[in-house]
């Protein structure tokens, strides 16, 4: 049992290391391609997934 705990603990620490290294976080982030190029000049030209997608086109 102690051996299993040792393996489990080592795996958990390895996971913590990987999380820190790649900068993972539990934040819900969606990815969308093709944001408009003129967004800097016209912020209103772009609506996010939440603002446009769910209200339907």
């Amino acid at each position: 049992m102690n051996l299993f705990y040792g393996i489990l603990g080592s795996a958990a620490l390895a996971l913590v290391f990987w999380v820190q290294f790649v900068g993972w976080s539990p934040t819900s982030v969606d990815q969308m391609p093709n944001a408009p190029k003129n967004i800097r000049n016209n912020p209103a030209a772009y609506r996010s997934f939440y603002a446009v997608g769910f209200r339907g086109k």
């Binding site: 996971l15 900068g23 391609p33 912020p43 996010s48």
Partner: protein, 658 residues
């Protein structure tokens, strides 16, 4: 060395030591005294009682590096049986004494001291502490003894009417002492206990020759004077009491006529679980079960029974195999005393909370008066049914430290737990041992090692995790990337885009901190992190709210004006961050785009701070909390086992007397 012819029988008699004034002829038991070169015949010496000792005149040995030879012997009888004092001559000319009883060996020598510095016999009691030189000793035995016979060379005259009141003293080490009150002034002998093997004896009695000589001398079989049943004594002359295995009568073997101590026992006959006469191998020696007794303590009106087997080995003496509810303990008498909480050898009474022995802490488990209910077989002491003694147990599983106290003496013994299968295998018994019930007082916990390992593992995990996070904290960039402030104005487009910023290094996180001027209002930020090269957008959001007020004269606050959100695993590149805030005081957001009377007025001021590659300790704490579950569960099981152990003690959990 002086060698003369015995005036009685003509056989050679030797005086090996200059100090030897008296000697006995080995052939005719004549007692001879030396006056310079003249020898005087004083008479005959009484026969020695056969006691099974392996030592004889001429035996040699080593004590603390010094070789010695046995020159003479005094055989002494006391209420518990016989012991021998062997007169020793060391190679360097010194003399000493080797006390031998029941397999224990004590080498001592006379210490010159001021007689008035020693207490009188009447001033002593069992448990009294005395200071002898730099050592603290405790009286463990007080008795009246009598010289039975003597043999070989001695430095002083002896007679068999010699009465010997004495006190044995022991220390926390192997040092001991004897106070001899046979003369006008008390004599102090100080010495040390040694094991049989440590003394490196040579020239011991041949046990086979001894057995032949004894069987030739005692041709008749020992028959029980009550029922006539024949008995052969496995313990030989060391047996003091024989309880007939047929009629349960007790026979006094120190009585030349084998007088009866009792004819019957009140308790019903019991069959020992290990048949008497069975031999077993434990501690590197062969032991024979000679005797069996059933004892009990009465606690709150309930009798708790256990069994004891008297086991014998010619060189090592006696050990006791104790069985209680299927739990077995192998017990050996101790030479030294444990120390109390004040560091001194335990003295006096009542029992302490704990005692120390060889650096180990023994906790008090139970004190009670033990009584003998039934006995059968051979015993090296004068057994009486309904004998009682104060019993005090201290445990440090798998060991148990026990004291048996009577008005005459205090005996300490150390036991260790044996698994039932180990006992059955050692004695070659068939079938299964009796099943265990409950938890034995000194039964080792099967979880102790597991718990220790689990907590050690947890500690290692914690240390490794902590050092890892320290490393990340030092090595992470934690680089500020962007700081920019915005104002949402009524009647204008609320969404904004930050100026471009570069994210460098490996793929890592990006922490977005939103600092607002909210006052009893909420805000919701819809955000998109857009890579200007790939046009990939990462979309996320964050709510911020801050309320405050007072109620009943006390002010309150809820929420915060600033919040953070971490965007995970963002590769390097050039980015902009688009923010679209919503704000309001109720359930629906204000329409920031509407132009009305408040057009142009600032509705929400906020700032954005971006930081790249920020380590987070919260993941480590989360993992450590999860990893603590296993050792905590083992701890709970361990505690449950210990609770069951202590239920049988004087310190039961929930006992209000503690």
């Amino acid at each position: 060395m002086l060698e003369i012819a015995c005036p009685s029988c003509g056989d050679a008699v030797r005086f090996r030591s200059e100090s030897s004034v008296y000697s006995t002829c080995a052939s005719c038991q004549s007692l001879l005294v030396r006056h310079d070169v003249d020898i005087e015949l004083l008479g005959k010496v009484a026969d020695l009682q056969p006691d099974g000792t392996p030592i004889q005149i001429g035996t040699s040995g080593v004590f603390d590096g010094a070789a010695f030879e046995v020159l003479g012997r005094i055989q002494i009888h006391h209420p518990e049986g016989y012991w021998n004092e062997w007169f020793l001559q060391f190679q360097d000319g010194r003399h000493g004494w080797l006390g031998e009883a029941m397999g224990e060996y004590f080498v001592s020598s006379l210490v010159q001291t001021e007689p008035q510095s020693l207490p009188g016999f009447a001033d002593l009691h069992v448990g009294k502490a005395l200071r002898v030189g730099s050592r603290e000793l405790v009286v463990t035995n007080l008795a009246q003894a009598r010289v039975v016979s003597f043999q070989g060379e001695l430095p002083f005259v002896m007679s068999t009417e010699y009465e010997l009141p004495f006190a044995d003293l022991r220390s926390a080490g192997r040092t001991g002492a004897t106070l001899d009150y046979s003369e006008e002034e008390p004599l102090l002998f100080v010495g040390a206990f040694r094991d049989f093997d440590e003394l490196q004896f040579r020239g011991l009695r041949d046990p086979e020759e001894e057995a032949e000589r004894r069987s030739a001398a005692d041709a008749k079989v020992l028959r029980c004077p009550n029922c006539g049943a024949p008995h052969e004594l496995a313990g030989g002359p060391r047996t003091q009491t024989l309880v007939c295995t047929f009629c349960d009568a007790g026979i006094d073997l120190t009585d030349p006529n084998y007088g009866l101590l009792w004819k019957a026992q009140k308790a019903r006959k019991e069959e020992p679980g290990i048949p008497l006469g069975t031999k077993g191998n434990l501690d590197g020696a062969t032991w024979e079960c000679l005797g069996f007794q059933r004892r009990f303590v009465r606690i709150e009106g309930v009798d708790y029974y256990w069994s004891e087997y008297v086991c014998y080995n010619r060189e090592r003496g006696y050990r006791y195999l104790v069985e209680s509810s299927g739990h077995w303990t192998w017990v050996a008498p101790m030479h030294k005393l444990p120390t109390a909480s004040d560091g001194r050898p335990v003295h006096g009474w009542p029992p302490q909370d704990f005692l120390m022995l060889d650096g180990q802490k023994f906790k008090h488990f139970q004190s009670a008066t033990g009584q003998v209910a039934y006995v059968v077989g051979e015993f090296p002491w004068r057994v009486k049914v309904e004998d009682s003694a104060g019993l005090h147990d201290y445990i440090c599983p798998p060991q148990i430290l026990s004291a048996e106290v009577t008005s005459d003496g205090m005996t300490w013994s150390l036991g260790r737990y044996l698994e039932p299968e180990e006992v059955w295998s050692a004695f070659g018994l068939s079938g299964n041992p009796p099943a265990r019930s409950g938890v034995g007082a000194n039964q080792p916990s099967p979880l102790a090692g597991m718990l220790r390992t689990a907590w050690m593992q947890y500690a290692v995990f914690f240390l490794v995790g902590f050092l890892m996070m320290i490393g990340f904290s030092i090595l992470s960039a934690q680089a500020p990337v962007l700081t920019q402030d915005f104002v949402a104005v009524q009647g204008e487009e609320p969404s904004v885009v930050t100026r471009p910023f570069k994210l460098e290094g490996r793929t890592s996180n990006l922490v977005v901190r939103l600092q607002t001027t909210l006052d009893n209002r909420w805000a919701y930020f819809d955000m998109a992190l857009i890579n200007e090269e790939t046009r990939q957008a990462r979309i996320f959001s964050k709510s911020v709210s801050y309320y405050h007020g007072s109620s009943g004269g006390e002010s309150w606050r809820e929420g915060s004006k600033a919040e953070e959100v971490t965007v995970p695993s963002v590769p390097s590149g050039t980015y902009v961050l688009r923010l679209e805030p919503q704000t309001g005081t109720g359930n629906t957001p204000d329409n920031l785009s509407a132009k009305g009377s408040t057009a142009g007025q600032p509705v929400l001021k906020y700032g954005v701070r971006l930081t790249r590659d920020v380590p987070s300790w919260s993941y480590l704490w989360f993992v450590m909390v999860l990893l603590a579950i296993y050792p905590i569960l083992v701890w709970i099981r361990y505690g449950s086992f210990e609770q069951k152990r202590w239920l049988e003690s004087d310190h039961a959990p929930g006992d209000s007397s503690d």
